[in-house]
């Protein structure tokens, strides 16, 4: 591939703007996506030799619109040949949409990208479908790249994306800016999808590799894009801060062979201080913007860890308070599990274990409950209980690095007891 990377970056940046514009004009998401892919291919073929046109976005839109009209024309020709002539000229761009809560700007390339993001994170889609479609249509990843990231065959991923596009087309929703209450709900879906993409890359739930960094990097790129589009939204900023503050620890999170290193044992000098500084500044900006949301709280927790140069410098009382707020806000039992760890660090293992007792029903059989119980029992000096809990957790996790880590924890406690191996 002799294509210079700069052209590739330019095309990836323009792809969602062009797709948004074409979908807004024609409404047919699936057909528009195909047309834009063809336009991008044409650009990748012609631009290296002929040079990048003065208005690359306009060039791509023109080519994609031509493909759309060609397609419409041939379809209609099949049915009613005489209508073909009327389709020769592309329809004019529609006038500006009514302004949304973010202000009365006219429809621009930025709005098109944002609208596209909203459409890809459509409530009619399951999370895996929304993730795949977002990476494809907004992220500009190829189907092969997405398939590779999720460890499924390319044909399977192509089908998932194709079905997602059909579902959106079938929903009949025009590409428009949601308003009022709907805006808040749809934005929450968008942020959730970006968060899931990041997590999928950071803590792969299945498989051998703990990090699939290309997905984390893509999620960060999309979150940066979302913040560029909605700079005043505290939760968008909070989500980007959370990603950066978490990703900053990635270099220290695994050893050379990909095995997991827990926070307490990480070499903190390997943490990426530039990412931490950027994340902290974003978090400050988000907090200053007013309304507190769950991503800001999670980012604040990540920041508390990142600020501690040594594990013993960690401000556990602050983290405990933040988890308390987060649990109130989300009611998520996994948050309660983390609060139990923080409680143990502040008030001792017995306090943490008491909190776990209330979670047995909601997290029954989840390996994380056993993993945390093992950790707290070990802190409390109950070696046999810790070993049993670590082993139970190892038997139920679906991640190889986590299973290896938990098996090692059990073995380590057993060894400290002086029991025969």
């Amino acid at each position: 591939m002799s294509q210079p990377p700069r052209l590739e970056d330019l095309l990836r940046e323009l792809a969602p703007q062009v797709l948004g514009a074409v979908v807004r004009q024609f409404g047919d998401f699936a057909a528009a996506e195909d047309a834009v892919q063809e336009a991008l291919l044409a650009a990748a073929t012609h631009w290296p030799a002929g040079g990048v046109p003065g208005n690359p976005r306009g060039w791509l839109i023109t080519v994609a619109v031509r493909r759309m009209t060609d397609q419409l024309r041939s379809e209609q020709a099949r049915r009613r040949r005489e209508e073909a002539a009327a389709m020769r000229e592309p329809p004019p761009l529609e006038p500006s949409e009514p302004a949304g809560p973010a202000g009365g700007a006219a429809v621009t390339d930025r709005d098109d990208t944002l609208l596209l993001l909203f459409m890809c994170c459509h409530p009619a889609l399951t999370a895996p479908s929304a993730i795949a479609l977002t990476l494809r249509a907004v992220g500009g990843l190829t189907t092969a790249e997405i398939a590779n990231a999720f460890l499924v065959p390319e044909a399977t991923m192509a089908q998932r994306i194709s079905r997602a596009k059909q579902r959106i087309s079938a929903s009949g929703e025009p590409l428009r800016r949601p308003s009022g209450q709907e805006w808040t709900q749809r934005l929450r879906l968008v942020l959730h999808v970006l968060y899931l993409i990041f997590n999928e890359g950071y803590v792969s739930s299945v498989g051998r590799e703990l990090h699939r960094t290309e997905l984390s990097g893509e999620a960060i790129r999309l979150a940066r894009m979302a913040r560029g589009l909605l700079p005043g939204d505290a939760e968008v900023t909070g989500l980007l801060a959370l990603m950066l503050l978490t990703d900053a620890r990635r270099p220290a999170r695994t050893d050379a062979s990909g095995e997991l290193i827990p926070l307490a044992e990480q070499d903190r000098t390997q943490w990426d201080q530039a990412l931490i500084a950027e994340g902290l500044a974003l978090l400050d900006a988000a907090v200053a913007a007013g309304s507190v949301g769950e991503y800001q709280l999670q980012a604040a927790i990540a920041a508390a860890h990142d600020r501690a140069a040594r594990i013993e410098d960690t401000d556990w009382p602050q983290i405990l308070g933040l988890y308390g707020l987060l649990e109130q806000m989300t009611g998520n039992p996994m948050v309660a599990l983390n609060r139990a760890i923080a409680a143990a660090m502040v008030r001792g293992p017995a306090a943490g274990l008491r909190l776990l007792d209330g979670l047995g029903e909601r997290l029954a059989g989840h390996y994380r409950l056993d993993a945390v119980r093992g950790h707290l029992l070990e802190m409390a000096g109950d070696a046999d209980g810790a070993i049993a809990s670590y082993q139970a957790a190892a038997g139920r996790t679906t991640s190889v690095p986590e299973r290896n880590y938990l098996t090692l924890q059990a073995a380590r406690v057993r060894e400290s007891l002086g029991k025969p191996a």
């Binding site: 038997g395 139920r396 679906t398 299973r403 290896n404 098996t407 090692l408 073995a411 380590r412 191996a421």
Partner: protein, 134 residues
């Protein structure tokens, strides 16, 4: 090139009757490192197609269905859990002899004290397209 699936289950071997959960930490680490190294080696030779560990028998389920009503789903614990598949590698190799060589390497994975555990490896050829040049 022919594809082979190399399968291993949880059965204890004559050389090692202690489950891994009771090994010393350094022995567990050595075993994990061995598996990483073997995968890296097979990737390097261009023979590794896929290699995966499966989640434990605790999460296994057996499903049967007679086509009417609702399917029967059986949860563990299973008395025959040791016969369940623990993981597999798929290799694409020149010959069965090479597949057997790789299986032998995998079988000698280190156990307690670095002694090879002699894990039985099931070597099964993956069926492919019919041979056309008769």
């Amino acid at each position: 090139m022919t594809k082979f699936m190399l399968l291993q289950n949880y059965s204890s071997t004559t050389a090692c009757t202690v489950p891994m959960s009771q090994w010393a930490p350094e022995d567990i680490k050595a075993h994990i490192d061995f598996q990483h190294a073997l995968n890296a080696e097979l990737a390097e030779t261009g023979e590794l197609v896929d290699g995966q560990g499966l989640a434990g028998p605790e999460l296994a389920k057996f499903v049967t269905f007679d086509g009417a009503g609702s399917p029967a789903v059986t949860d563990g614990p299973f008395p025959e859990a040791k016969e369940l598949l623990a993981g597999y590698r798929i290799v694409d190799v020149e010959s069965e002899a090479r597949a057997i060589e790789i299986a032998a390497q995998a079988s000698a994975a280190p156990g307690p004290g670095g002694v090879p555990i002699q894990q039985p490896i099931e070597v099964r050829q993956v069926m492919g397209a019919p041979v056309i040049d008769l």
